[in-house]
């Protein structure tokens, strides 16, 4: 065993290597950037992606109208504006409003002055609810009575001190034709319809309005947020799942590989969109994504048991053969893990026949269950040790010394084992302290339609990555350095994460970038079919779908959302192509 001094040298060495590898990767990045920069299309793609991301981040600043939320709603809502339906882009009428003013003095609503206010509901926070904007009037265009006859324009004037207030002339009251009020049409000017970043005169709805009177431009801007969220979430999760499944399949091969690949074949056999549609339909009744408590406790404890077992067999027992099969071999060959799982399920009370609380009459609170299951694991560890000592006759010589050295933070191998155990232990403790005393752990509280779409796309997308990663792993697995790591005795997880995956990431990165675009396309397609976002959400596919009834009369309603999709997806595709040129030189032609 190394002493403290040796450990210090090791640490210095590793720090030096880290710095070297950092500077090397920075150099690689620089070289990659130089290659990337050469392609005009790739730069165009980068520009598109950056600008769409900027728009998504600063949507609050750029957009004119904003969605609001009631306290009870979980989805964005846009206030309807019946005066401004289906207006073409740059329409003057965007700053034109009609308002009814009650003039009958007998009415309870009567007052001599009336405030000009917009129909738009604006809100800064969910807690505030919403309020209507006060408009500042620039010009009164006409006054009509309830039957549509024009009235004398001088009957109503703008208050000279406050341009938001109409003053009603006394002549209005006596006239019997005004009993039920008059309609006043006026031009207004205020923040409600102006873009701070555009010159004067261009600041009315630049993409027009839709059927409900929402500003199409604002919805397109907010749609960037929705689409990018979907794209990045789905791509990240599919990559994670696909990588795990694909690397298991590629590394272990054999029967596992065969089964996983057949499952992938099933997924490939059904066209993606139809598959996603079926998944969306299947998830329709899911309102929140929860994890049963037993699973939430089981996962960390299982991991803890697994690493504890590996730790014990490398430190306390001196068997030479334990090193190589310590990780996966435990799962495959060792019955003790199965026993520990069964014991755990029993103590958690999940085995319904003999529930813990009935059996012992003790409180079945989670903390108690967790502690008891941990105790069981420790007991099991003792049993394993005894088993090895007395049945398998493994030598225990020097066990204390090895335990001591295993807690030596300077030994990188021991340190890794130890660190992993600590991570899972702290996870379990955190979980216990979180105070989540329901019967289920809530992962996603509002499993709304967007989440349904995202999960449907994740379910349909992972086989592609699994196949990609499997191929890469099969390729890298045969290389000499993996052989070397194996012969040194590195566990499969270490070989996987430290040796194989870092050498297989290049096609993964390209696929990831391209997949963001593909996901945005599929999600908008699902929304278009009415299976995606909730009605009136600012989702591009949905906006196109909503514009279908009037797309010949008002093509701007579908033109701009579609352009937004095309630009975003094109950007990601060009970016992916550019990255492919950098990381995979043989494709560069």
């Amino acid at each position: 065993m190394r002493d403290w001094e040796g450990g210090r040298n090791d640490r210095e060495e590793s720090r030096k290597r880290l710095l070297e590898s950092l500077s090397m990767s920075i150099g690689n990045l620089g070289r990659g950037w130089k290659i990337y920069r050469r392609s005009l299309l790739a730069m165009l793609g980068l520009l598109m992606v950056l600008s769409v991301s900027m728009v998504a981040i600063f949507a609050d600043e750029i957009a004119v109208q904003h969605p609001y939320r009631n306290l009870t709603d979980t989805e964005d809502k846009w206030s309807n504006n019946p005066d401004q339906q289906e207006l073409p882009p740059f329409s003057e009428e965007c700053s034109l409003r009609e308002q009814k003013i009650t003039t009958d003095p007998r009415s309870r609503l009567f007052s001599e002055t009336v405030v000009a206010e917009s129909g738009n509901k604006v809100s800064d926070s969910i807690a505030l609810g919403y309020y209507t904007d006060i408009l500042s009037v620039t010009e009164i265009i006409k006054i009509e009575n309830d039957r549509g006859y024009d009235q004398d324009p001088s009957l109503i004037t703008i208050d000279p001190n406050n341009s938001s207030i109409f003053v009603l002339s006394p002549d209005l009251y006596g006239n019997s034709s005004h009993y039920s009020g008059v309609w006043i049409t006026y031009l207004y000017e205020n923040d409600d319809m102006s873009h701070w970043w555009l010159p004067e005169g261009y600041d009315t709805c630049i993409f027009g309005t839709n059927k409900e009177g929402h500003d199409v431009f604002s919805k397109v801007v907010y749609g960037a947020r929705v689409s990018l969220t979907i794209g990045i979430t789905v791509a990240t999760l599919t990559v994670t799942i696909g990588t795990i499944v694909g690397s298991i399949s590629g590394y272990y091969g054999g029967r596992i590989d065969e089964v996983i690949m057949r499952i992938c074949d099933v997924f490939f056999a059904i066209p993606g969109l139809i598959l996603a549609m079926a998944f969306v339909a299947a998830m329709r009744s899911v309102s929140s994504l929860t994890l049963p408590v037993w699973l939430g406790v089981l996962l960390p404890v299982l991991m803890l048991a697994y690493f504890l077992n590996a730790h014990l067999s490398t430190t306390v027992l001196s068997g030479d053969d334990k090193v190589s099969d310590q990780a996966m071999g435990v799962l495959m060959n060792n019955r003790s893990l199965l026993v520990s799982v069964l014991a755990f399920l029993f103590f958690v009370g999940w085995l319904p026949a003999i529930a813990w609380s009935e059996f012992f009459g003790v409180s079945s609170s989670r903390g108690w269950r967790l502690t008891s299951s941990l105790v069981v694991i420790v007991l099991l560890a003792a049993i394993i040790l005894a088993d090895r000592k007395f049945v398998q006759k493994n030598s225990m010589d020097g066990a204390l010394e090895r335990i001591g050295s295993s807690f030596d933070w300077t030994n990188p191998w021991r340190y890794l084992n130890f660190r992993t155990a600590v991570v899972f232990l702290s996870m379990a403790i955190l979980f216990k302290l979180s105070g989540n005393e329901g019967s289920e752990i809530i992962l996603i509280k509002d499993f709304d339609k967007l989440w349904q779409v995202q999960f449907a796309l994740i379910f349909t997308g992972w086989p592609g990555y699994a196949r990609l990663i499997r191929g890469q792993v099969l390729y890298v697995k045969e290389m000499a350095f993996v052989e070397a790591a194996k012969s040194v005795g590195a566990p499969p997880s270490r070989i996987m994460f430290r040796h194989i995956l870092p050498n297989a990431w290049a096609p993964l990165l390209v696929a990831f970038t391209l997949d963001i675009g593909g996901t945005i396309l599929s999600a908008s397609g699902l929304s278009f079919l009415g299976l995606g976002a909730a009605p009136y959400t600012a989702e591009w596919g949905l906006m196109i779908s909503e514009s279908r009834v009037a797309f010949q009369r008002a093509p701007h309603m579908m033109l701009y959302p579609g352009l937004a999709i095309a630009i975003t997806v094109l950007g990601f595709n060009l970016l992916g192509d550019g990255i492919r040129d950098v990381v995979d030189p043989k494709n560069r032609r």
């Binding site: 005009l40 299309l41 057949r262 499952i263 074949d265 099933v266 056999a269 059904i270 066209p271 993606g272 969109l273 139809i274 598959l275 549609m277 079926a278 998944f279 969306v280 339909a281 299947a282 998830m283 329709r284 009744s285 675009g517 396309l521 908008s524 397609g525 278009f528 079919l529 009415g530 299976l531 596919g541 196109i544 279908r548 797309f551 010949q552 009369r553 093509p555 579908m558 959302p561 579609g562 999709i565 095309a566 997806v569 094109l570 595709n573 060009l574 192509d577 494709n587 032609r589």
Partner: protein, 384 residues
């Protein structure tokens, strides 16, 4: 490996996948919320239709559940599902009681027709542009066509279809560009459906003027409509030829939308494959012999570059069926995609199961045929 061995092996590999798809569709149908029994009786579910042996009332809902045998264990339901599938009983629509197989029989040919013609557009276009792009590598044309290839892949197909409708199927007053160019009135192509809308047809007998044993392919059937049925149609359809042309023009826009969208990836494949072949020794030899560049590219290089393109035909068919869902929705065509969307929106799981199964069968079979063709063309594949 002999060719027949290869074919047999591929066929055997198909079996687990087919079983998997059947299991999968069954599982999805089990998860989809909604009670098919309640769907069938609608608002009359509370109606008492009889009494059981103990004298307890049986509601229509309970009777339906019993008739559909929904209370059986899942394993028995699955067994019944598989035997029914093999016996050709794919269930029936919960709303109107039409057999699913019948619905699919009328809708599948429509989608296949569309997919076929869209590939007829996509393949020549993609291959032609790919060849030019590869020959003129790194020139202006190459850059432009590569950009458009990526752009076509990136376009949302439903939006592209709507743009085609807007510009080629409407008059100039709403932005149509077709009228000034071709001198037509109200757009060059029809905007909706598979037939002229000047005559209406009963919803159920959607292809009522076709021969009794029609193929379901509208183009074929329109050619074989009997004179007696033609007489029932409006006067502009006097002959089969006019009817045929009408159905053909209705195909142009949807097929162009699908075809152009899928030609982008074909262009890229063709370009990459041809570039690889152009660096081969035999191409150099052909050039050294003094053959014209046209002959070198078209006769020597292209034939070899086409082989990998043929292999993605199977995937293209799958992609075209997937894209057909969206295109059919835009153009109001009653194909499999529309049937699937309606089935999912109305929670008719029997229809969803049927369509999923059929599309996967089509996809797998087309891939199988392509693979066998590939093995015939390129014997190296069989060796692995």
């Amino acid at each position: 490996m002999k060719l027949h061995e290869f074919v047999v092996r591929r066929l055997l590999l198909l079996i687990p996948v087919m079983i998997g798809v059947a299991v999968f569709t069954f599982a999805v149908a089990q998860i989809i919320p909604g009670d098919p029994a309640a769907l069938q009786c609608g608002d009359k579910c509370g109606l008492i239709v009889g009494y059981d042996d103990d004298g307890n009332p049986i509601t229509a809902h309970q009777a339906n559940r019993e008739r559909l045998r929904l209370d059986d264990p899942v394993s028995i339901q699955f067994e019944r599902y598989i035997t029914d599938l093999i016996n050709g009983d794919w269930g029936e629509s919960q709303k109107n009681g039409r057999p699913v197989l019948d619905i699919i029989k009328t809708s599948a040919p429509v989608t296949l027709e569309m997919a076929f013609f869209s590939l007829m557009i996509a393949y020549p276009l993609g291959i032609f542009l790919g060849i030019i792009s590869a020959v003129r590598q790194d020139r202006m044309f190459d850059h432009v066509s590569r950009f458009f290839a990526i752009a076509f892949v990136s376009l949302p197909i439903f939006w592209f279809a709507m743009l085609l409708q807007l510009y080629f199927a409407t008059g100039p007053e709403v932005g149509g560009i077709c009228d000034p160019i071709f001198g037509t009135e109200g757009g060059c192509f029809p905007i909706f459906d598979r037939h002229d809308q000047s005559y209406t047809y009963p919803v159920e007998g959607y292809h009522w003027f076709y021969p009794e044993a029609g193929t379901g392919f509208h183009l074929v059937d329109s050619w074989f409509v009997t004179d007696a049925k033609l007489a029932e149609l409006p006067s502009e359809f006097d002959t089969n030829r006019e009817l045929f042309m009408d159905t053909l023009t209705h195909l142009v826009l949807p097929c162009s939308a699908l075809g152009i969208a899928s030609s982008g990836s074909l262009l890229r494949y063709m370009r990459a494959s041809l570039l690889e072949v152009l660096h081969e020794d035999y191409v150099r030899t052909a050039r050294a012999k003094g053959l014209s560049e046209f002959r070198v590219v078209v006769v020597h290089a292209c034939r070899n570059a086409m082989v990998p393109i043929v292999t993605i035909l199977g995937f293209s068919i799958g992609g075209a069926i997937g894209g057909a869902v969206l295109t059919e929705s835009v153009f109001g065509i009653h194909g499999m995609g529309t049937v699937a969307v309606l089935g999912i929106l109305q929670l008719e799981y029997q229809i969803v199961m049927g369509v999923t199964l059929l599309t996967s069968v089509i996809f797998l079979l087309s891939n199988l045929i392509v693979d066998i063709a590939y093995a015939i063309v390129d014997p190296r594949v069989r060796l692995e």
